[in-house]
Every structure is written in C-alpha cells, then in structure tokens.
C-alpha cells in the first residue's frame, strides 16, 4: 500500500539520490583500480623475483651472446624497474599476457580455451549452493534448536572442514567406481571428444545449441559430481549465512507485528523475513562465486577437469611463469571484479545503504 507513495518519493528525490549513488560507484571503481594496481604489482614482483632467467627461457641456453642481448633489450630489462612495471601494465591492458613456454602459444589464447570449463564448473556449483543452501538455511532458522537445525549445522560444519580434494576422491570412489551412477574424470567420454564445435566453450551450452542431446547428457553426467563437490563449500557457507540472517530478521519487531496481525506463518517467513534476507545474500552469493572460481583448482586436479586451475598447476610444474602469472591475473581480476560487483549491487538495492 505504501509502494506507490514510496515510488513517488523516490522519483521526486531522484535528483538528490543519483549523485550519492554516483559517488558510491566512483568509490567502488577507485578501490577496484587500487586493487588492480596491487595485484599487478605483486605478480610483477613475483615475475622479477623468480630464479629463472626470462631471456634464457625464450632463447634457450644455446643461443649466442648477441641473440641473448637482443632479446634482453626487447624485453626492456635494461630499463629502470618502474618503467618495466608500466610496460607490463600496458601489455596487460592490451590483453597481452606473454607467450606460454609449454604450449608455445599466447597465454591469453590458452586461457580463453581453459577458462570456460572453470566457469561452467563454478557456475553450476554456485547454483547448487544457492538452490540447496538457501532453503536449508531458512528451514534451520525457522526450526532453531530442533533437529532440522542440528542437521543443517552438521552438514555445513562438514562442508567447512572437509578437504575438498579428498571429498572429491571419496565421491569418485563411491559414485563412479562402485555405484557407476555418474561418468568419471574429464569433461566428456573419449569417443565424444571433438565432435562439437566449441562456440562458447561451455559444453552444456554448445551441445544444446548443436541439438546433440547425447553429448549434453554425457557432459552433464561428467559435470554433476565435481560441481556437487565444489558446491559443498558454497552450500555450507550460504546455508550458514542464510540461517544467521534469518534468525536476525525473525527476532525483529515487524515480524512480531505481522504475526500478531494473524498473517499466515509461511507468508511471514517467505514474504517478509526472507525478502529482507535476500538483499543481504547478494554479497554472500557473489563472494561464494568468486571463491569457487578460485577454489576450483583442487577439484579440477581431482577430476582431471581441463580448466584454468589445471592450466596454472601444470604450468607451475613446467616452470612456465608467463602462464602461471597470466592465469593468476585473470583469476584475480575475475575474483576482485565479482566481489566489487556484488558489493555495488548490494549498495544499489538496499535502501538503508543507499541512504
């Protein structure tokens, strides 16, 4: 009933609220730039500190002195350190992450090939965490101190405490080796490999677009186990936060008012308390998504999932520093970007923060 007048007020006051939003957006942007500078400074320092000679890595140890010096100058290693850093930033902004020694291709191209697999895995895992974790958290809060609450608490504690790579192995042992419910490691069975033209790189979407449901099914069967394992952490975190947000809301006076009015309990919980919790959950879901993009490294290793985590790990063992640092930058930028975006979204949506 207050909806229209509130809207009217908002429109009337929009001349005032817009600048304050703008200030917040620029504030977030400024800290994004600061963080980017910090991130690149660290990867730059790591690249400089590493024991391997970047010139030797390119020319090989049989090259003549002239070739060596030519490459040395080409890389700008004779310039002062801050100039080298600016040069590095300039290259990054142009999307140039150097050349991988392992694959002999630009790192950026490699990452374009590996990243969709990680994106697919982390997205499905986050969705699982959201659609299972939120109801669990709400149920636990509504039944605080009774058995549904205890079950949710135990599940989320285990999700917090279990080493994810071990959980993945045990799941493979049970659901793949013993029960044969799902497909094994990798993204597809061998005989399906390379049939579908990679459009987006996300196999589920590619298979659906090509209309090849057999491959879609196979890809899903490969995906479901690693996504569930990766999603365990998301589920634990989201369920726990939802529970504590809900408890917070349910103890507020407007809930008491609604109950006294005789509003049905389901309406009190989902229509009133949960709607306020949803806004708070934006930040939590963003945080989870970002940490899953990063945290998929271990899951990818267990399930031989050809994502960016595997790419970074393999490059590490081959001393392919361009690839390692390029991968770190890309994951880092996504991580920071998603966090800032969810923060921004929260500020724009929540009227109390919006001010």
């Amino acid at each position: 009933m207050d909806q229209t007048s509130a809207n009217g007020q908002r429109e009337a006051g929009s001349g005032l609220t817009l600048p304050s939003n703008l200030v917040k957006v620029t504030g977030v942007l400024a800290s994004l730039i600061m963080t980017f500078i910090g991130l690149t400074a660290i990867t730059f320092v790591i690249g400089r500190l590493m024991p391997a000679d970047p010139v030797l890595a390119i020319v090989g140890d049989r090259a003549s002195q002239e070739v060596y010096e030519q490459v040395y100058l080409q890389l700008g290693l004779d310039k002062p350190i801050y100039e080298q850093y600016f040069r590095y930033i300039g290259q990054l902004l142009q999307g140039d992450l150097g050349t991988s020694i392992m694959t002999a291709q630009p790192v950026a191209d490699d990452i374009k090939r590996f990243f969709p697999a990680t994106l697919e895995l982390a997205t499905i895992a986050t969705l699982l965490g959201v659609f299972v974790g939120i109801p669990m958290g709400v149920v636990a809060a509504v039944h605080q101190g009774r058995w549904p609450d205890h079950i949710v608490r135990v599940i989320s504690l285990i999700g917090y405490s279990a080493p994810i790579f071990w959980l993945g192995m045990v799941a493979l042992l049970i659901f793949y080796a013993n029960l044969d419910w799902v497909a094994g490691p990798g993204r597809l069975d061998v005989y399906f490999d390379g049939i579908i033209e990679p459009m987006t790189g996300v196999l589920l979407i590619d298979a659906a677009m090509a209309g090849d449901w057999e491959i879609f099914q196979n890809a899903l069967s490969h995906l479901i186990l690693p996504a569930s394992i990766l999603g365990t952490f998301a589920l634990a975190y989201i369920a726990r936060m939802t529970r504590s947000f809900m408890l917070d809301q349910l103890s507020q006076e407007y809930i008491l008012t609604a109950r006294v009015k005789g509003m049905p309990e389901s309406n009190v919980i989902w229509g009133h308390a949960f709607r306020n919790v949803l806004v708070q959950l934006i930040t939590i879901i963003g945080l989870t998504y970002a940490s899953l993009l990063e945290g998929s490294v271990l899951t990818e290793t267990v399930f031989s999932w050809p994502g960016i985590g595997q790419y970074i790990t393999n490059s590490l063992f081959n001393n392919d520093m361009n690839a390692v640092l390029g991968g770190t930058i890309v994951v880092g930028v996504c991580f920071v970007g998603i966090n800032m975006l969810s923060d921004l979204l929260y500020r724009l949506v929540d009227p109390r923060v919006r001010g």
Partner: protein
C-alpha cells in the same frame, strides 16, 4: 573445603592482586565456555592432536619413513591399523608423525600472521590520519586477493616445500587480523586509561605494546582459531598439488596426493589421511565457534 575457598577466591568481587584478577578472568570465561558441549568436543580434538604429536615416539612402532617393500599396500589389520602405503610404510605411524607437521604449520603461520596483523592494525588504528589510510588500503588490497592462487604463484617463485608454502599462506592471511586489531585500537584509543598513561609520560610505543595490544588479543585469538581450519586446508591443498611438503614427509595432504592412484583398489591409502585432516579442521572450527560465543556473544549465531 579447599575447593570452596579456591572457587570463592576465583569469584571474589574485588580481586586482591593482579594474579587473582587474571585467574578470575580465565575462570569466568572457562565457565561460559564449559556450557557449550560442542565447543568442548573441539577443545578435546585439539588437545588430542597436541597429545598425539607430543607422544609420537611412544605410540608408534616406526618413524614412518622406512620402506618395507614386501609389505606394500596391505589392508588395515591388527598389525597395521590403517594398512600400509605403496612403499610398505605403516599409515597409522605416518598419520601420527604427520600430526607434528600439522602443528608446525599452525604454529608457524600464527607466529608470522599475528605480529604482522597486530602491528599494522594497531598502528593504523591508534595513529589515524594518513598512516591509517595508507595501511588500510594495503590491507584491503590483500583482503581482496584470491588466496589459494596467490599462494600457488608465490610457491612457484620461492620454490616448492613446506616452509615456502607456509610463508605463502601467511602472506595471504594476515589482512583480516590487521582489520580486527585496527577496530579494537580505534575503540581503545580515546579511553581514559590511555589518556592517563599518556599523561604519566608513557611513550607511544609503550602505550601500543603494553596497553593496546593486550586488549586486542582475545578477538585476534578467536579469529585465529576460526581461520586455523582454513589454513590447515590450504596447506593440505598445496601439499596435495605437490607444492607444499615434499615426499617422503608424512604431511597429510601430500599423503593423499601420493595415495590417489591407489584409490580404487586400495582405498585406505588416500582415505585415512583425509579423515585426519577433516577431524582436525573440524576441531578448530568447533573450538573457534565456542571461543567466539564466549568472547564476542553478539556476533555468534
């Protein structure tokens, strides 16, 4: 009789000495902590871990490193409780010796992280102004980083190994402690006892170390306990990737990594170390939750 007098001494309204005041503080917190059975389980797990690590030479039959190739990959039995691994080493013995490595990681990370976080946070909070702005910007940058990936990149530079893994974890873990210490220092900074100390001519450094730092310790301890599970999991993860402790060290994550290829037929080789990690990180999580409820009842669930 002595029981009653000890109790009344511990609960006296006005403490007679500094020692009594300290004991009272500990006792009252213990009474609050004791009421939480789940937290007690956590405490028991951690005490058990410490006991096992201390008693390792007496409760094992080997040092967990000797090879017995004739006894490789044996299933759990009365002789080998948790079976043997691919080189015939007793897994039970390796788990027990591995508890020392886990404690070593935990101690090392704490030693690095707490002082860095405390110094940065307290200086920022107490000084305020541009010092605060600079230090907190730095902290925010580190807070925003993806921890595991950054630790991996650091290990790649420093070289693989347990100490470097610990260093990498520490470098990506200190920022929340700086945040906490700053928040505490901000609230303490304008209190009257600090003013009194300053009027008496105590130097700034003296105030920071003798008066501000002790008051930050309880919230830092709670946070450290809660973070410990994450630290152990990250260290185990680096070990699993082959970036942390190197063979033949019986680090639990590395043991899982080596046992991975035997998963299908000799399931106990990679499974048992995972259970050990799960139990210890569960212990730290439970203990941390309990401590938080005692020291910071507002934020608890």
């Amino acid at each position: 009789m002595t029981e009653i007098t000890l109790r009344s001494w511990l609960l006296a309204e006005i403490p007679g000495s500094r020692l009594q005041a300290r004991c009272q503080w500990a006792f009252i917190n213990w009474l609050a902590f004791k009421r939480n059975p789940v937290a007690l389980i956590g405490l028991l797990i951690i005490l058990g871990l410490v006991a096992v690590a201390a008693l390792a030479p007496w409760i094992t039959t080997s040092n967990g490193l000797e090879l017995h190739l004739s006894e490789r990959l044996q299933p759990p039995s009365s002789e080998h409780w948790f079976g043997t691994d691919e080189l015939g080493r007793d897994i039970y013995d390796r788990i027990i010796w591995g508890s020392r490595i886990t404690l070593y990681i935990v101690a090392l990370v704490s030693i690095i992280v707490v002082p860095i976080g405390l110094v940065i946070g307290i200086v920022a909070g107490y000084m305020g102004g541009w010092v605060d702005t600079c230090l907190m910007r730095l902290t925010d940058i580190f807070l925003a980083f993806p921890r595991l990936i950054l630790a991996m990149a650091l290990v790649a530079t420093l070289g693989r190994g347990l100490e470097n893994a610990v260093l990498a974890i520490a470098l990506t873990t200190w920022s929340p402690f700086a945040r906490i210490a700053r928040a505490e220092a901000l609230t303490i900074r304008n209190s009257e006892f600090i003013l009194a100390a300053r009027v008496q001519g105590v130097s700034t450094i003296g105030i920071l170390f003798r008066h501000v730092t002790p008051l930050c310790m309880s919230s830092v301890t709670v946070r450290l306990t809660l973070d410990m599970a994450g630290i152990i999991l990250t260290a185990a993860g680096l070990g699993f990737l082959g970036l942390g402790a190197q063979p033949p060290t019986p680090e639990w994550g590395a043991m899982i990594s080596l046992g991975r290829q035997y998963l299908i037929d000799q399931w106990w080789v990679p499974t048992v170390p995972g259970i050990a990690i799960l139990v210890v990180s569960l212990g730290f999580n439970l203990l941390g939750d309990g401590l938080r409820d005692v020291f910071d009842p507002k934020s608890g669930s």
